[in-house]
Symmetry: D2
Subunit: 133 residues, 4 copies
């Protein structure tokens, strides 16, 4: 599976009084990672929503190995770990200078605007599959 | 004008690596203050939105006198500073043990769901006016 | 194991354009839950930090069952799932009107201000153990 | 005075249930703007803190003209509006496709790690002044 890298610089807002990135903010980094991964397929996640596909998170997990600090330039490395039917799973690594600080996963399902499961059109299926290679 | 007090305890999430509450988070405290002020009128802001009234912020200002710290119990003191037609203005003080740490203002206008100015019904006007006394 | 309940009202700031609480914010709710749980032991987490004990998060997980919405009053239900040596584990449920919306866990280890493992004094051990009953 | 432009893409985390960027988050954009402006002087704000200079915010203001939306690419345009002694003032414009959405200001003072006013060394003065041209 292809990994997609995206850089993010830690803001003051994201730190806490321990001097590190607050633990919930890595889930925001994961959001940035999967958004840019999807965009790399030639179709923005926003376009999917505009077509009536929502992709809420069903589960998330995060393992904190080393702290990230203010002004660090982090690499958000995103991989698609599962893509079957309406299920889409991502795994993430947050790295600084090649050292892994955090790893995590999110699992999603495509639903319509009412929250009911919604199958992807073949065209969208194809685009996402191509982005995996 | 009546002042409305509401307590809030500072979370770790709200601090930054300087050890203080991050400056943008006071605007969240202001939101909590005006929301609870409006609720004290016997009608929640959410009810207003459900009736198609939105109350976006036009301007905000904030003066930082002393820092708030992790686990502080803060008093968010809210006053309505202006209520004329579709305009609604709030002023705020953030206090710890009676000492003012931060003061600020927000100005709003009632609009409909399309963002166009929307006059309040006489009934809602009345409720908000009563909340001022 | 004792469960500790704490109420939190969802702010506008915590919602996203899907109209629900943004998924990372539940980790902030978990922070509030464990902080108030620890406080119920008669000792604030802040006191622990003042004594040089830090309690960083090693792992977090979250399962999203139903969405929470703006202005909902949520119950954050916290239980200590593990307390052995320097390890402390919490599990959480986020409920609205008795219905579980979200569940999750966080695992922590006590460290000193340099990030090295630090054993708890017998006195603190005792306090936390009493809070479990 | 030189204006410094920096791009930022709006995340899901930054939106609220109105579908727009939550009003407090523009202050985070302002932080990003002034941080990158200072970095363009050849010295990161982090370096200043490492040398014992802190630059807390004394005042902030924000005027909301048009809403920014999810996935918008925004330009954060930062200008130094005042630099005299220990005072440093910034003004900001947030633009989308050349259209101004938000404008604002922040005022700061250089202090030491104890929060007392601290004069800048001539060398640092020089660097910041050069960044203004």
């Amino acid at each position: 599976m292809r990994a997609f890298d995206y850089e993010h610089r830690v803001t003051y807002a994201e730190t806490d009084r321990m001097g590190f990135v607050y633990y919930a903010n890595y889930l925001i980094y994961f959001e940035i990672g999967r958004t840019e991964y999807i965009r790399s397929s030639g179709m923005a996640y926003k376009d999917l929503e505009d077509m009536g596909y929502m992709l809420p998170v069903l589960e998330a997990s995060c393992k904190y190995l080393k702290p990230a600090r203010y002004d660090d330039v982090l690499t958000i490395r995103t991989t698609i770990s599962e893509f079957k039917g309406i299920r889409l799973g991502f795994s993430y690594e947050i790295l600084r200078d090649g050292i892994k600080l955090v790893e995590g996963t999110t699992d999603h399902a495509f639903v319509d605007t009412e929250g009911r499961p919604r199958k992807l059109s073949p065209e969208i299926q194809e685009k996402i599959k191509k982005a995996l290679v």
